[in-house]
Symmetry: C2
Subunit: 434 residues, 2 copies
């Protein structure tokens, strides 16, 4: 039998997250306080995050234990499968071996619960009763809603208005998990009111929704905290559960990747898979190429500047050293909502600067074409975000065919597209453009 | 560690389907030819189905080998997980142990690919190039579309018009897998034109969509065959892969069900789980209660008559001895589209007559309430059809609490509700009624 799935039993789930910061050649530049422009300390972050997460954001430990309560929930869907895309390989007539780590098996359908669950847990431990957040495409919002339902926390989601209107199913999912969902810009915050005053028809942006969620947490007098679904160090660390598992599963497959690929919006999906493989490389193990894929319409890594910038529109968040298109960048309306962020994780940005990571920007139509090819061979309809990784995985496989060379390709299929079928419908109808 | 998931490695996937017919005390009454009213023979079925499936429909063998090509595809998502619903148990404060077999992990999100894949395979083997079918909620249509894409067959789906209009995402999914989707009633068939002539605004029914799909196959001069997603003996047999796996997984859990529960529209989901457990019982093993759950708005087993009836509106299909509400029954518009069928599998009907199966009808609002409770504890949003099984599983668990008795409950969670979120949105908005 040619094995296609490499499953770990639930008692082999990794029990630690990996923190890449101490292993990076030049470290990661610290966050700066938005007022003083000095490196943030624990007290600076306290209005936004609970102590457990602040400690993780600032830690220099390489391995951090995953709490038992978090592992108990992870085990509802983890370890996620590593799948060999044999049918896709055949269709491409490539000598390459293509593996994907499928994160769409989570209850919210993406990798986001990997960090939503520990974030909800550490807030619960700190006595917090409500979390505020933003969401674009809705993957993060629905994941935090799910995590809050597990721990009995209220969840207040600011959803970019254009998505709120176009994605009622995502909103329905969040409400099913018990969250309250508000279209952003809203009348509930100063940041929202200011935008609406200037333009009552404003459809919002992720940067603005972050401003609203942060403002709502700051105004709660300590009852609510804010949760972010990507970018920050502790978020990438939580996502390393993906790569920790994948290392064990590649061993089961008796194989090892030459190239590791992930779509990059804020960077946590890519980092989650790639960082544990980079640890092996930095520790003297086998080298892998790591490829970050971004949409050509929001080319943060390939065309942004590497500089300190705010994470949100209103300038309420700490400043992060990152590749950025500017915090007032409003990306064109494309469907890969999860990749429409002006900035990038400081860790991913530092890897790029250290030449430990390649970045590639791909146009939308090429991504959907790859997504349909993938769906028709592997049966899974990728989320529009995930089609970016599929595109580059296919390109790598075709290059291997050209070269007549074996190549082992590993990518994250970060989520399914069940809530994004309108994008596929529009693609088939010829309504999408690059 | 308290285990929550019972996974089988892919090399332990069962390699046979189970055919219950020879084990039934009084057998199953044969299908009758719609013209002659005589029991059908192989030649009668040939215009509709390929030889491989006709042989399975009529076989008296107890075990039928699963072809290697089908197993290769099954292994993309099978064995599906058996999950202990520990968080739900805690929320209900019940001494019962609740297990569910989760079929939503398939690429189409339900149990339907278990039969769609072998149906496409046997048609491919017979040189057929196109399959026609009907779909209501879209679970079956998207599963056949998927299976056809695996084998390079064309797929022509007649989708009940009300669903076609209300469920664009399901349609998008079928089109992503390469199928063509036509709203039924359509102008493409006599059956459809007759209905439209009488009522141009007709929104269709499953029985009519079946008539259109059958007519399209019959008119194809042997190039196309028809595929049915439930009801028939061979369909239930394909679905027994669910129960074959569940038996092995209950062994891993060191447990055994007292009661086995499934939602029943045409009966294949329930039969798929329950029949292998019934085999054990009929062979002298431990007895289980088997409970079929249907919507009170379409109470086939609880209020239908047990009689020969057509499977479709126009009377093109063979007659089946079954519980039926009449082939011209138009069920009220409820959201559990997959349960809105006037008839029932002859096997399930025979089991009911032999008192080997209980039937229970449940109102829609009670089902959604159960679905939301399940989602907030187990993280998975059930398909509206599946909430019927969840409702009765919860009721059984609450009864166990009342009785202060241990009870082991097993049900199929036949699919997720990702394409049905509008139903949940309507439920929260108070727009649904019993």
């Amino acid at each position: 039998m040619n094995r296609t799935k490499f499953l770990l039993p639930e008692d082999r789930i990794p029990t630690t997250w990996y923190n890449v910061v101490p292993d990076l050649p030049n470290g990661v530049p610290p966050l700066l306080h938005p007022g003083t422009k000095e490196p943030v300390n624990e007290a600076d972050l306290e209005p936004l995050f609970p102590p457990g997460l602040i400690a993780q954001e600032l830690t220099t430990e390489r391995e951090v234990d995953i709490p038992g309560e978090v592992l108990d929930i992870y085990r509802q869907w983890r370890p996620s499968p590593l799948i060999r895309a044999r049918r896709l390989e055949q269709a491409l007539r490539t000598p390459a071996r293509i593996y994907f780590k499928y994160e769409g098996v989570s209850p919210a359908g993406s990798h986001k619960p990997n960090t939503a669950v520990p974030q909800a847990y550490f807030n619960k431990m700190a006595g917090i009763t409500r979390l505020t957040t933003e969401t674009g495409a809705g993957q993060w919002g629905s994941s935090l809603a799910l995590a809050c339902s597990y721990f009995g926390l209220e969840c207040e989601v600011y959803m970019v208005k254009v998505s709120y209107q176009q994605k009622p199913y995502r909103r329905g999912l969040m409400e099913t998990f018990g969250a309250s969902v508000t279209a952003s810009p809203s009348e509930r915050t100063e940041a929202g009111r200011a935008v609406l005053a200037a333009d009552p028809e404003a459809t919002g942006s992720l940067g603005l929704a972050i401003s609203e969620a942060v403002e709502a947490a700051l105004a709660s007098e300590g009852k609510a905290k804010y949760a972010l679904g990507s970018v920050l160090n502790h978020v990438l660390m939580h996502q390393t559960i993906i790569g920790q598992e994948a290392l064990l599963q590649m061993e089961l497959a008796d194989d090892y990747p030459d190239v590791v690929i992930g779509a990059a919006g804020g960077g946590s999906n890519l980092g989650g898979l790639a960082l544990p493989f980079l640890r092996e490389q930095l520790g003297g193990g086998r080298a892998v190429r790591t490829v970050a894929v971004e949409p050509s319409s929001c080319p943060t890594l390939t065309k942004g500047t590497y500089d300190y910038d705010f994470g949100d529109t209103a300038g309420l968040t700490p400043l992060a050293k990152m590749h950025t298109l500017g915090h007032d960048f409003v990306p064109p309306s494309i469907h890969a909502g999860g990749l429409r962020y002006h900035g990038m994780s400081p860790i991913i940005s530092a890897l790029r600067e250290a030449d430990l990571l390649e970045a590639r920007a791909v146009p939308q139509l090429d991504c959907f074409e790859a997504g349909v090819t993938f769906a028709r061979n592997e049966g899974i309809v990728p989320a529009p975000e995930s089609t970016h990784a599929v595109r580059v995985a296919i390109d790598e496989a075709l290059a291997a065919r050209e070269a007549g060379a074996e190549r082992v390709i590993l990518f994250t299929l970060s989520g399914h597209g069940h809530f994004d079928m309108q994008a596929y419908i529009d693609y088939f109808a010829g309504k999408l453009h690059n």
